[in-house]
């Protein structure tokens, strides 16, 4: 589904990604871990098509298409979703209005008719229930005055409504208490499907107790230094990152 080959990228004149290789197949869940400043968020933003992140080398294909040639909105419509680490507030813009516009943009791109208002409300209420969100989310502005945890839940809610083929979740677990973590994990797990894939960017192993990944990668210094199954995450939790970095030097 997603194939990243030798991807390099620069942010504000600084090389951050220095040759990332990664392949994600349909049905898989991958976790990308690594110390602060290793390039995890940069990778997520580059894949989503952020303009000020300059790709300096390599290729990325998404379902056989050249992902890097597509503008951000077309990547989204093709089924790539980014759950933001810091979801932005858009004052005065209704949360549901944005979500409906997003869904309709996707449907339009797929040649489908716009969603019926009643149908949409039924769908969103059902997903909100799953995410333990109160009805007040329907009337509030996008992330306006949301707590950190509410923002993250809102990201997952959007993901559930948009049903992306590939969801990249950038530290969706950070700032969540244990109950919220369970809710968010249940939401992500509900999306698991043989035709979908999930990439989790995270610092902590605890998320992976709830969403068990097929593969775990350690990203450091702009490269993937080590890959393994879910036991790698546990080892990282126990031993930290230093041994991975050292084994690389040696």
């Amino acid at each position: 589904m997603l194939k990243i080959t030798d991807l390099s990228a620069r942010v504000a004149g600084k090389d951050i990604l220095k040759g990332v290789n990664l392949e994600v197949r349909a049905g898989e869940v991958h976790a990308i871990m690594g110390p602060n400043g290793s390039g995890k968020s940069t990778l997520a933003q580059v894949l989503a098509g952020r303009e000020d992140y300059e790709v300096t080398g390599g290729t990325v294909t998404f379902e056989g298409r050249d992902l890097l040639a597509l503008p951000a909105e077309e990547r989204a419509r093709a089924g790539l979703f980014l759950g933001f680490q810091y979801p932005v507030e858009i004052p005065g813009v209704n949360n549901v209005y944005l979500l409906k516009a997003a869904l309709n943009a996707k449907r339009k791109a797929a040649g489908e008719p716009e969603v019926d208002a009643y149908e949409f409300l039924t769908l969103i209420r059902q997903k909100m229930k799953l995410m333990h969100m109160s009805d007040s989310f329907l009337t509030r502005g996008v992330n306006e005055g949301f707590s950190g945890g509410e923002k993250k839940r809102n990201e997952v809610l959007q993901m559930l409504v948009l049903e992306p083929k590939l969801a990249i979740l950038d530290e969706t677990d950070s700032g969540l208490d244990i109950d919220a973590l369970k809710v968010v994990s249940a939401g992500v797990n509900s999306l698991r499907h043989p035709e979908r894939a999930v990439v989790l960017v995270t610092h902590y192993q605890r998320l992976l107790d709830y969403i068990v990944p097929d593969q775990v990668h350690v990203l450091s210094g702009g490269r993937i230094l080590k890959s393994g199954d879910s036991s790698l995450a546990q080892e990282l939790e126990r031993r930290g990152y230093d041994w991975v970095l050292e084994s690389q030097v040696a």
């Binding site: 098509g49 503008p71 951000a72 909105e73 932005v88 858009i90 502005g141």
Partner: protein
């Protein structure tokens, strides 16, 4: 990629949709201004002596005044002798008696602007006075309004049919010598709208005036006077457009509102004068004096404006809160794109006890535009218990525009409460990217973000205008992300 600034800027080739010229024979005065011209305007309109005297007094005063320079706007000096002060579409005989006698070209012009003047094709529940260059060409629903006792007519008709009302109220809120442009208007104003709502009457429909400048080298100097008597209420809307011309045209209007005891006036403007092209050539100079006086106790005047047009906007709709417990409100969205300059805001003058005012100003700047909020909250010693709340927010789109805020406050009564909040934000790359990542196009995303920013003002507009305002805003800012 459609989200790249340069491509978005290509979209910025914004089309002004009302820029056509109506080819109609006009009866115009040659350019130039002296006492003879002032007298000629008065004579053309068969005005009573008191009005001619009033005009001449204003003209003499104007000659002693200097053009104000304190506003944060820049333009080449205006040659007041190079402007024609009167232009009227030539009617076959005398003034048309009914819409059927109005020149079809004029009706077509308004239809093209989306303002049907035929009552059968009317805007639901809105009575319209259409002002073309210097004169009013038609007023709809006069009869229906007449049954309720409401007078809604062109200013010229008011002078002819209700001279005592005009004489009693004209210039009592904006005196002829108030400022340079108001004095000029007082000397040469040609037409405008007049509204009188008698005691205890709620005006049964929205009233609206649609101003259109057509003739070249012509200034438009209209005068609007609205009086809501004791316990009366009225909602009035104003819309404006002009053809695209390379030279600048002057528009210097005066609007006066008078609210007596328990009366309410809601005045809404959607201003879309031609703003000039993307290089700053042409456009309307909009130098307008708008002021309302809450003369009676428990009265209320509310200004709502959406300013998207004009090369230069110089405009401060204000409230004199004289009556006890009276309320003044100002809700504004001012958009400046390309080389537009807007210096706008309000004045709230608290004179009576327990008077209240609210100011909400939203300024949006894009391109090379300069957008200034200028406001005065003045609380006089007599205004015990007065309260004001002011909120000024600015939104910047792109790196070359600017926003300025000049809030002045003079508080002379210690029991008054004055609150001020201000913010400036850039249309976030983050907000834009967030929307793009959800599959929403850059254009839709900007519209969404800007509408969200303006929401509190839009909800003050009457329904028909809220939709128009929203559309205007998206046209004005098409692709203005950089």
């Amino acid at each position: 990629m459609s989200s790249k600034p340069q491509d978005v800027e290509a979209l910025l080739a914004q089309k002004y949709r009302h820029g056509f010229i109506t080819d109609i024979e006009s009866d115009s005065l040659p350019p130039g201004l002296d006492e003879g011209v002032v007298a000629a305007i008065s004579r053309k309109k068969h005005e009573p002596q008191f009005l001619l005297d009033w005009r001449l007094k204003a003209f003499r005063h104007w000659q002693t005044m200097l053009e104000p320079t304190w506003a944060h706007v820049h333009y080449k000096p205006i040659d007041y002798q190079d402007i024609s002060y009167y232009s009227a579409p030539r009617a076959p005989a005398n003034a048309p008696k009914s819409l059927d006698e109005v020149d079809p070209k004029l009706l077509a012009t308004y239809a093209k602007l989306g303002i049907p003047l035929h009552e059968r094709a009317r805007l639901a529940g809105v009575a319209v006075d259409a002002v073309f260059d210097s004169v009013s060409v038609a007023t709809t629903f006069k009869e229906k309004l007449g049954k309720a006792g409401v007078i809604f007519c062109s200013f010229s008709d008011a002078v002819r049919d209700h001279p005592q009302l005009v004489e009693r109220y004209l210039g009592t809120v904006v005196p002829p010598g108030d400022n340079f442009f108001a004095a000029l208007n007082s000397a040469v104003f040609s037409d405008g709208s007049f509204v009188y709502v008698p005691p205890g009457v709620r005006c049964p429909m929205e009233l609206s005036t649609y101003f259109r400048i057509n003739a070249a080298k012509t200034g438009q100097f209209e005068r609007t006077l609205i009086i809501a008597a004791e316990g009366a209420s009225v909602s009035y809307l104003e819309g404006c457009t002009a053809p695209m011309r390379d030279e600048n045209q002057l528009h210097a209007a005066v609007v006066e509102l008078v609210a007596l005891d328990n009366a309410q006036i809601k005045y809404s403007t959607v201003q879309n004068w031609y703003p000039g092209d993307e290089n700053g050539l042409g456009g309307i100079y909009n130098f307008v004096t708008k002021r309302g006086e809450c003369r009676g106790r428990d009265s209320k005047i509310s200004w709502t404006q959406v300013e998207t047009g004009s090369a230069i906007t110089w405009k401060y709709p204000s409230c004199i809160l004289r009556g006890e417990n009276s309320i003044g409100e100002f809700y504004s969205v001012a958009v400046a794109n390309n080389y537009q300059q807007a210096d706008t805001g309000t004045k709230m003058v608290h004179i009576g006890r327990n008077t209240k005012s609210t100011i909400v100003s939203k300024g949006i700047s894009a391109g090379h535009a300069e957008n200034t909020y200028r406001g005065l909250v003045k609380i006089l010693p007599s205004a015990a218990g007065a309260r004001n709340f002011t909120q000024c927010d600015s939104l910047l789109m792109g790196p070359k525009c600017a926003a300025h805020t000049f809030p002045y406050m003079e508080v002379k009564n210690p029991t008054a409460t004055v609150e001020h909040e201000a913010s400036t934000s850039k249309i976030g790359e983050d907000q834009l990217f967030y929307c793009l990542q959800r599959g929403i196009s850059a254009e839709d995303a900007v519209n969404m973000i800007v509408s969200g920013f303006c929401k509190v003002v839009f909800k003050e507009l009457p329904m028909e205008f809220a939709v128009e305002a929203q559309n205007l805003l998206s046209v004005s800012l098409e692709g203005a992300v950089g």
